[in-house]
Amino acid sequence: MALLEVRNLSVSFETASGDLFYAVRGIDISVDVGEVLAIVGESGSCKSVAMLAVMGLLPPVAIVKADVMRFDGRDLLTLSPRQRRDLSGREMAMIFQEPVASLNPCFTVGFQIEETLRKHTDLDAAARHQRAIELLQAVGIPEPERRLGSFPHQMSGGQCQRVMIAIATACTPRLLIADEPTTALDVTVQKQVLDLLLRLQAENGMALVLITHDMGVVAETADRVIVQYAGRKMEDTDVVSLFSAPESPYTRALLSALPENAGSGRLPTVSDFAPPAEAMK
């Protein structure tokens, strides 16, 4: 059963000249319970916009239209803002690319974790504190009790991302959206954070949407892949057939641009294979 179902989603912004600029156009996405879905595309392909629309995090100027946008049987398009707020943070959560910038510099880590718990659970202060310690433990932060009193700037990028994961998973959501969660991290830390995400996904049985531009990450983690280019869906397939038999020319271009596939000579670019972005609009 689809946990998240989005049909014919388009997100547009009015430009200074009064035209509409489409960041996303006519996209269908469905995520099953407990599934890992990767959304792939190059930088600037507005990969995250669709997921921000699902979370309701786009600025008010964004025009969001969809035939269907359903989460767990509830129509996200008709929910009141208050009902939307009850969902986000509890049943669906999101983490972002810049872990250090994602945490509020003025509040302690503990405050920021417990804030979510206070919003969505009936736990009292002591229980929230206890739960926060458990969460930090679960995301692999040493000395969790002491770390609760730390400020984000006292931690490394990898630790901040772990804290973000702790916040996002505080209420064991059914859907976790991770927007390039490892891009800003050191190579050695990237793997650890990715493993952590997959472990929590498996343990809690939550669905994970992984937005990335890294084909290596896709191969390692995803059950299913959506390839997006210039705001449109190019391909929606399981991960094995993506690598063995890519359908769209764009995907083939993307794969052949990987350094290990490129062979000798000039590294091919996507524009060698795919039509330019403006031709797609």
Binding site: F13, T15, F21, S43, C46, P59, E98, D179
Partner: protein, 307 residues
């Protein structure tokens, strides 16, 4: 969320078919013109400049001519008002409109001279401090700190007390007080720029210190300096008017707006127009310059652009 995925930024980067790239200065100019307030400010300032230049042609009367039969005549649209004195006359029977028109000359010249003095000396000091660094930098910046430790109007007052009241001395004093802002700005920009590759390249190519500073580094920190110059322009006008008001700036019978206000103070109960008109002139001028300054700041600060 990555910067390139930001929907706010997306518009520009996603439109390869948009208008062809234009030169930075022209782009800035386009951006500036899109700012309604800035354009209004520019038009008002242009009108003021024209007024100042053609003051003798525009003014209906000699600004110092005392009409003995027309003391404290109210503006023309009021009872007892006389059509030949559109904005009324002051206590000595001088036409207020004519005095205001000639006063525009003083305000604009004050702004220009003060900014020119502060800008040139500030850039000079800031370039030296930033470029040479070390104890020269520390010494210069401590002096700037000391100037900034005093409230600017107070320091200007004291400087005028030393060198004597008068319009030119007031301008000099205000320039001294405003100068550290330019020095700090230049120094900061120079320190940020001097280790960039293009400066190293110029040095390797054999450019002299002077050439490096003036031709290579300076043009790259012009934006903030221009914005600061605009702000200083309006500050200079305000401070000079304040000094004039306190009797330390332009001396009567000069039709400087602040000095006119000082002369008018005793008539606030009997003849409001004598008090009101010069103030409106100051406010409009400063407002116009500040509107331009805001527009320039938005233009030169890429962080605020597209927002």
């Amino acid at each position: 969320m990555s910067a390139t995925d930001d929907p706010h930024l997306g518009t520009a980067e996603q439109e390869p078919l948009g208008p062809p790239p234009i030169a930075p200065w022209r782009e800035s100019w386009h951006y500036f013109l899109a700012n309604r307030g800035a354009v209004i400010g520019l038009v008002v300032l242009a009108l003021l400049v024209l007024t100042a230049i053609f003051a003798p042609l525009l003014a209906p009367h000699d600004p110092t001519m005392q009409y003995r039969d027309a003391l404290l005549v109210p503006p023309a649209w009021l009872e007892r008002g006389r059509p030949e004195f559109l904005l009324g006359t002051d206590a000595l029977g001088r036409d207020i409109l004519s005095r205001l028109i000639f006063g525009a000359r003083f305000s604009l010249v004050i702004g220009l001279v003060v900014v020119a003095l502060a800008l040139v000396s500030g850039i000079f000091v800031g370039l030296i401090a930033g470029y040479f660094g070390g104890w020269i930098d520390s010494a210069i910046m401590r002096v700037m700190d000391i100037i900034l430790a005093f409230p600017s109007l107070l320091l200007a007052l004291v400087l005028v007390a030393i060198i004597g009241p008068g319009l030119f001395n007031a301008m000099l004093a205000i320039a001294v007080v405003l100068q550290p802002h330019f020095a700090r700005l230049t120094r900061g920009a120079v320190i940020a720029e001097k280790n960039r590759e293009y400066v190293t390249a110029a040095r390797v190519a054999g450019a002299s210190n002077l050439r490096l500073m003036v031709r290579t580094i300076l043009p790259n920190c012009l934006g903030p300096l221009i914005v600061q110059a605009t702000l200083s322009f309006s500050n200079a006008i305000l401070d000079a008017a304040a000094l004039g008001f306190l009797g330390m700036g332009a001396q009567p019978p000069t039709p400087e707006w602040g000095t006119m206000l000082a002369e008018a103070r005793e008539f606030i109960t009997s003849a409001w127009w004598v008090v009101t008109m010069p103030g409106i002139a100051i406010l409009i001028t400063v407002l116009a310059v500040n509107l331009i300054g805001d527009g320039l700041r938005d233009t030169f600060d890429p962080k605020l652009r597209r927002s």
